[in-house]
Amino acid sequence: MTNLIIAFRNLFQAKRRTLLLGSAIAFVSLLLLLLLSISKGVSNRLIEASTLTSTGHVNIAGFYKQRANSATPLITNREEIRALVRANVPDLALVTDRARGWGRLIGPGGSFNTGLNGVILEEADFLNEVKLAEQSEYKKDGEERVTGNIANFGQPNSILIFAAQAKKLGVDVGDTLTFITEANGGQANSVDLTVVAVARDMGFLSNFSVFVPRQTVLDLDRRGPDTTGAVWIYLKDISRANEVRKQMEGVLQNAGFTILEHDPRPFFFKFQKIVSQDWRGLRLDLTTWDDEVSFINWIVTSLNALSIFLVAILGFIIATGIANSMWMSVRERTKEIGTLRAIGMQKNQVRSLFMTEASLLGLFGAVAGSLIGVIVTVLVNWAEIPITNSGLRVFLMTESINLVLQPVHILTALIFLPMLTAVAALYPSIKASQMPPVQALNQGK
């Protein structure tokens, strides 16, 4: 405690030095927080976009092989599987399923291949969270208001598409699109769909999927009512996804299903390998959400790597600065140290005194940086600063800068920086503590 008071007093006395070093530390802590919140923001967007468009937290999907050399991404026994999930997953938030279709969406302005998300209307609460795009976002000279209505989704053959898709297809709400399946066997079925709403883009994940009522997909592919593409499980706690996947594998196996060995890739990478396997009938394939988006996880990984790299270099520079100023401070205060030692302070007390001082400085800096960080985060999110570079928009999966600052981030800064400064002060502190009192007193002259 005495140490703390003395350290505090010392910092207060060397105001200018404290202020300078403190603000450098505050800057680094601010940067650390911003980097963490950017990468958390991106990974949140990734979860949000992927769990809306392409995956549940846990998926029970699989392949149905009518022929030895086919692979249809389809499962049967839909009701049974859903019941098993409801009975066996305790912290279930929602279980639903999506019929999966694949084909070409054709509009007056262009066409592209996309997956169809066949949605069960009664379980489509998520649609209320979908942000609709203003007309001007996808139409030249369009109005700055939302023209579609999500409530109309569910009318037979209605379709919900995303802004970039609307732009490409050259359609607006109310227009008709044609969808042709690319069904295997050279037989193509098609259907006309009416655009009921246009949603905001979610990076490139949203380019590859559109929403239609489940029945539309079943009709297109001529599939029976007990089939579906995948049963999607949403958990209250997404971090339990892998655990639940393993648990459900066991449950389904006991119920007589055959389970494919876990392959952490999205289902569309698995066609070729399934095609060349010799079994027929149904086999289930359980994956988690991050398996299904593993092909874009590199964005989050590289953002994290970049943050670590930057913070490491900055940390190194800061540590050098701290070491230097503690060293000087030690020399400046030789006499003081001599006095302290002369009146009975122990070596290790002197050492911890200097280290306390350094970590206190680190803590002040970190606290100041965190405060600014919180303010900056709130301001940036409030201002909804749009990202104009379309490349960045695609990679960060968002239209405006989105920062997510978590308490754990602040805690990281509050622990990491004082530790760093303490380590940096280690050598000067040891030097100080090893000074013989008499010599110290003399040198001070």
Binding site: R16, R17, L21, S23, A24, F27, Y64, K65, Q66, R67, A68, N69, T76, I106, G109, G110, S111, F112, N113, K167, K168, T178, I180, E182, N184, G185, G186, Q187, A188, N189, S190, V191, D192, N207, R222, R223, E261, D263, Q272, K273, S276, Q277, R280, L306, L310, I313, F316, I317, I318, T320, G321, A323, N324, S325, W327, M328, R331, N389, G391, F395
Partner: protein, 693 residues
């Protein structure tokens, strides 16, 4: 003046030696900063230059021209959509070419157009029935009998396939009808017909039964239509490595070696290749690496891809050889293959060699080879499916970019076939259409409306596969929409230099004048009344070009932040030495040093240590770059190898940067010294003497 400088430098050196810790901190940070700037920017510059070579030398050229009416931007390496971008059309390439070639800096202009296609792989029973028809016609009774049994056993398989289909379909009545058809074909009465009315029997099999067996899984292929000869001449990295380029005036396709090896090759062989890359080249362990583990555990499940090709004598000899290799006494060939394909870290290398030496020669490693004909199926502009048969003339790769998926993404077809897949007919196709129209007596309609009429009217249409029988069927309906040519049919090479293209690559004589040539051409086209836009290779590359801009921006911001923090620390360090040296400064002032002298003293001190440190930092960076320039930096992934222009990056550096960067950093440090130096110069002799007492 000179005298004073000499004194100042002497004093500076003395002070630097005296305050070793401070000198080391300031020097160290500056050394590090300069190192980082020189090294980082050199690597970035090298990557930009290799990447530009990759992009320019593969398909982009220096400039790209496309229609000003395009709704999408040109993105050669993908726009983030899986489909056709609306790039407008250049209807008369000859006009564009004539106009562009007027510019003295334009060396060549290459017509292009690109699209995704499905590789239609044919029906499983088609081949068998074709063989059967030939045999029946030949009248060889023994052969006919043998094949008949084979047909029957295949029909039984199809029947059980359809029974599987019954479990998931919503139209069981239709499937049941199909099963009934199969039952007819399996009945003895049906086969009696082979004697009396062979044609009806064969037709029933070909038209009613064959479609039921379903198609092999299709493969997506990205193709680029161009003038093959000109392309090979202009793009220096382009290299045909098997077969020949598409000969002038002939139709055909040139496959990417990368796609051929990574998507088309037998999946078991690909598994072995992938494991070889991971285990032998990258030195990973199957037991530790998730990707390799999955590859290894999938291998035995794919035994069918080996066993299916082993028939008759081959089967026996492979089984025998495997039995002795595996020291197994199993009699089942399938069982032996499964055992063989269960590879581990210990047995992999041995089995890899064995596979290629003893098994590969007996199986089909590739479903088709150079010289074969494949069917490309693509959507025309208006969304109608069209199939065009094309001969594979050869395989190509871009030198240095062999392992890059991006560079190897395209397969090349002649422009005439491209137009056909695009839905635009060649002059001969047009004549054919006119002939057909007069035959069936319908009024001439534009190409678009033919397709629209067929496609747009009904909500649900069915187009049968474009196999022989389907074409016959559609002929009967009115006219043949595929205008089927044979794969070897020729065309007039002049067609390559005129007519429809989507975009065109421009190669310049002097690549340094990209921007000015771009502006000139834009102006020229406008004057000539051509609605075109010209973009440089970076813009034309799409998301890829943006990625590099993003990396560049991020790196510059990072360097900026690092420098700011470094300067704050330096400022702080100098500030503290100043405070510590108040007494000394006071003494100096007392014995007659002017304020300016003190200021200069501090500045020279920073400049001395600054230049010393930053220049050494730059030299260190240069030595590392020279070393790496010799050994190269290995590309960690296939994607990066495209950026690196090859499997390794050999970084270079520019002397401008090596000199400019350290001086800039030192000057920055000097600027941050000004304030502490100014503070020091304000020290009055009196206070300085009083201090510490």
């Amino acid at each position: 003046m000179f005298e004073e400088l000499k004194v100042l430098i002497l004093v500076a050196v003395r002070n630097l030696a005296l305050h070793k810790v401070k000198s080391m901190v300031v020097g160290g940070i500056l050394f590090f900063g300069s190192f980082l700037v020189v090294f980082g920017l050199s690597i970035l510059g090298s990557v930009e230059s290799t990447m530009s070579q990759s992009i320019i030398g593969s398909v982009a050229g220096h400039l790209q021209i496309y229609s000003a009416d395009a709704r999408d931007s040109l993105a050669l390496f993908g726009s983030g959509f899986f489909g056709r971008d609306d790039l407008g059309e250049i209807n008369k390439f000859e006009d564009v070419k004539a106009e562009a070639m007027k510019h003295s800096n334009v060396k060549e202009i290459v017509p292009l157009g690109f699209e995704n296609a499905l590789l239609a792989r044919g029906n499983l029973l088609d081949d068998l029935f074709e063989k059967f028809r030939a045999t029946v016609n030949s009248g060889e009774q023994k052969e006919i009998q043998l094949l008949k049994e084979s047909v029957k056993s295949n029909l039984l398989n199809v029947k059980s396939d359809l029974q599987n289909e019954l479990k998931i379909t919503s139209i069981p009545e239709e499937i049941n009808k199909q099963i009934a058809d199969i039952d007819i074909a399996l009945s003895d009465d049906f086969w009696l017909g082979l004697q009396t009315d062979p044609e009806s029997t064969l037709l029933f099999l070909e038209s009613r039964i064959a479609p039921l067996s379903g198609e092999k899984e299709p493969i997506y292929l990205r193709y680029m239509g161009t003038n093959p000869d000109q392309f090979a001449q202009v793009f220096s990295k382009f290299k045909v490595i098997e077969g020949t380029n598409i000969p002038s005036g002939e139709r055909g396709i040139l496959l990417s070696k990368r796609i051929y090896e990574n998507q088309i090759k037998n999946i078991v062989a690909r598994g072995f290749d992938g494991l070889y890359r991971g285990k032998v080249i990258q030195r990973k362990k199957i037991a530790d690496d998730v990707t390799l583990k999955t590859l290894a555990s999938d291998l035995p499940k794919q035994y069918l891809e080996v066993s299916i090709y082993l028939t008759g004598e081959n089967r026996d000899s492979v089984s025998r050889s495997l039995r002795s290799f595996l020291k197994s006494d199993s009699l089942e060939t399938e069982e032996l293959i499964k055992q063989f394909l269960s590879v581990t870290d210990d047995n992999f290398t041995e089995r890899f060699d064995y596979f290629y030496n003893n098994i590969a020669p007996s199986i089909r490693l590739y479903p088709f080879r150079v010289g074969d004909i494949i069917n490309l199926r693509s959507y025309t502009r208006s969304g109608f499916l069209k199939t065009v048969p094309l001969k594979i003339h050869g395989l190509y790769e871009f030198s240095g970019l062999e392992s890059s998926d991006l560079a190897g993404a395209f397969n090349f077809v002649d422009l005439v076939s491209y137009r056909e897949l695009y839905g635009r007919m060649s002059s001969e196709g047009r004549k054919e259409l006119e002939a057909l129209q007069s035959e069936v007596d319908i009024q001439r309609v534009s190409e678009d409306s033919i397709e629209d009429a067929l496609f747009g009217e009904d909500t649900v249409i069915e187009t049968r596969s474009e196999s022989q029988t389907a074409q016959q069927a559609s002929l009967a309906q009115g006219f043949n929409l595929s205008f089927a040519r044979t794969a070897t049919e020729n065309y007039d090479p002049k067609e390559l230099n005129s007519g429809l293209v989507i975009n065109a690559a421009v190669i310049l004589n002097n690549p340094r004048r990209i921007q000015s040539t771009l502006n000139d051409l834009t102006g020229q086209f406008e004057k000539a009344g051509l609605r075109l836009q010209v973009v440089d290779w970076k813009q034309a590359s799409g998301t890829l070009g943006q990625l590099v801009s993003v990396i560049r921006a991020v790196l510059l911001v990072a360097v900026g932040i690092i420098l700011i923090v470094a300067m704050a620390i330096i400022n702080n360090a100098i500030m503290m030495t100043t405070l510590e040296r108040t007494k000394e400064i006071g003494t100096l002032r007392a014995i007659g040093a002017q304020r300016g002298f003190i200021l200069r003293m501090f500045c020279i001190e920073t400049l001395t240590i600054g230049l010393l440190a930053t220049l050494t930092g730059a030299m260190a960076a240069v030595s590392l770059l020279v070393y790496l320039g010799q050994t190269g930096i290995a590309a960690p992934s296939d994607f990066v190898s495209f950026l690196f222009g090859g499997p390794r990056l050999y970084p270079t550096f520019s002397f401008d940067l090596v000199l400019l960067a350290p001086v800039t950093v030192a000057v920055l440090a000097l600027i941050f010294t000004l304030y502490p130096a100014y503070m020091a110069s304000k020290v009055s002799p009196a206070t300085a003497m009083q201090d510490r007492e």
